[in-house]
Amino acid sequence: MSVKLPIFMDNHSTTPVDPRVLEEMLPYFTQKFGNAASRSHVFGWVAEEAVDYARERIAKLIGAQSEKEIVFTSGATESDNLALKGVFEFYKDKGNHIITQVTEHKAILDTCKRLEKDGAQVTYLGVDKTGRVDPDDVKKAITDKTILVSIMFANNEIGTVQPLEEIGKITRERGVLLHSDAVQGVGKVDFDVQKMNVDLASITAHKMYGPKGCGALYVRRSKPRVRLVAQMDGGGHERGMRSGTLNVPGIVGFGKAAQIMMDEGKAESARLIELRERLRKRIQDRVEETYINGSVDHRLPGNLNLSFNFVEGEAMMMAIKDVAVSSGSACTSASLEPSYVLRALGVGDELAHSSIRFGLGRFNTEDEVDYVADLVVDKVKHLREMSPLWEMHKEGIDLKSVQWTAH
């Protein structure tokens, strides 16, 4: 078994650019460098043509009816901001109520917080212990003031896939717009804006083996035609919805990445589910007191989020430092609070501090999975030997009965 270190198993944070994507991008830096907005010469026409081709490919990947429904942005955070702020600004006379849920990405939650200051009323729905929103809760939360529901497709920490199709039926019936931050799921799990009645969707290239700094917002053009107020003023690019010179090489790469997902996504997901289950079994079968966070049935193929009881997540990451993963431990953030996503699921703070997220992707191999599983098993044992909590647990002490000195 041979693996090359370090191993990247953090494919929810970003993904490497697929060499096939890079190859298609390269000419657009040097030879075909035109500004896609230049209407008067061939350099501009070539760039525009490449951008429109990418638009078509991306539209196809998400089931959009027209390539004109794709608005390019700098990434998903911008797409989320544009969707929520743009819709609110346009429709606020109609109503000021927005519905979202508690495990959304900060790009949604913090945007909602901002909109609350501007007069929006936001309902944050809770989730069940697997991280799923109950569509019935969405239905109940809708009032005659509701203009928008924003529910992510798949969660970045726990991989839970939301019942978007059911939610889409409700929002369509009630005449409310539905936005989805679909960054993590697109290409990996079936996503179709038509089938799901999604009116706005945020996506980004770098989560699907494309380049960073290149995202898109899907904006439905018919039934209903979604309107929004641009959040960036300037040359009126992207049909007035997002000014700024287009990142042509990035967009070309985004298009190619989408095409590869179209062609290979299904097979890739099947392979990743196999790898993930191999990793899970090889760890869980050998390490007691290991818990899976999130949903078993509705989960991103490459996501495995485990809590190793009595072992702190950051210490774990340090112990396996040749493997790039992430943790819901507070120590990985400046806030000293463990993951708000795990908390929302009702995972106790102790177990939230002990969580490790493995994110498998296109370039991970079975050998890497086996290597990581063995390493994790070894290091959990080592860290538990150092853990007073593990010793107390083994002595039969109920840790909940201990008077801890919170600090």
Binding site: G313, A330, C331, H353, S387, L399
Partner: protein, 131 residues
């Protein structure tokens, strides 16, 4: 976050990991922190009749900096009298390990662990002499 070399060294090769018999009258045990906060340190000292710390052991549930802080604490207090050991301040640990601001609480916890172990030992000693 990048760790200092000293933190990495202690976290990868922790000194004095282990358990002393907490029922031994010459052993003082300090257990500080809380699982919900992500840090629990247990620091134990074995003190001889001259009041010198002969041995020190720790176990820590916490991040690398917490492990390093407690490992360093045991190294420092070994061979010191309990009065000297009590004077160790968290800032000394911060300086030695080059801890960033977000990790200062790890050093505070280590100082608390030393103090708590000494207090436990003193309580035991007083209980003994009262008999």
């Amino acid at each position: 976050m990048a760790y200092s070399e000293k933190v990495i060294d202690h976290a990868e090769h922790p000194r004095n990991v282990g358990t002393l018999d907490k029922d031994d009258p010459s052993v003082g045990t300090g257990l500080v922190g809380a699982p919900a906060c992500g840090d629990v340190m247990r620091l134990q000292i074995k003190v001889n009749d001259q009041g010198v710390i002969e041995d020190a052991k720790f176990k820590t549930f916490g991040c690398g900096s917490a492990i390093a802080s407690s490992s360093l604490a045991t190294e420092w207090i070994k061979g010191k009298s309990i009065d000297e050991a009590e004077k160790i301040k968290n800032v000394d640990i911060v300086q030695e390990l080059n801890l960033p601001p977000v990790k200062i609480h790890c050093s505070v916890l280590a100082e608390d662990a030393i103090k708590s172990a000494i207090a436990d030992f003193r309580k035991k000693r007083e209980a003994r002499s009262a008999k």
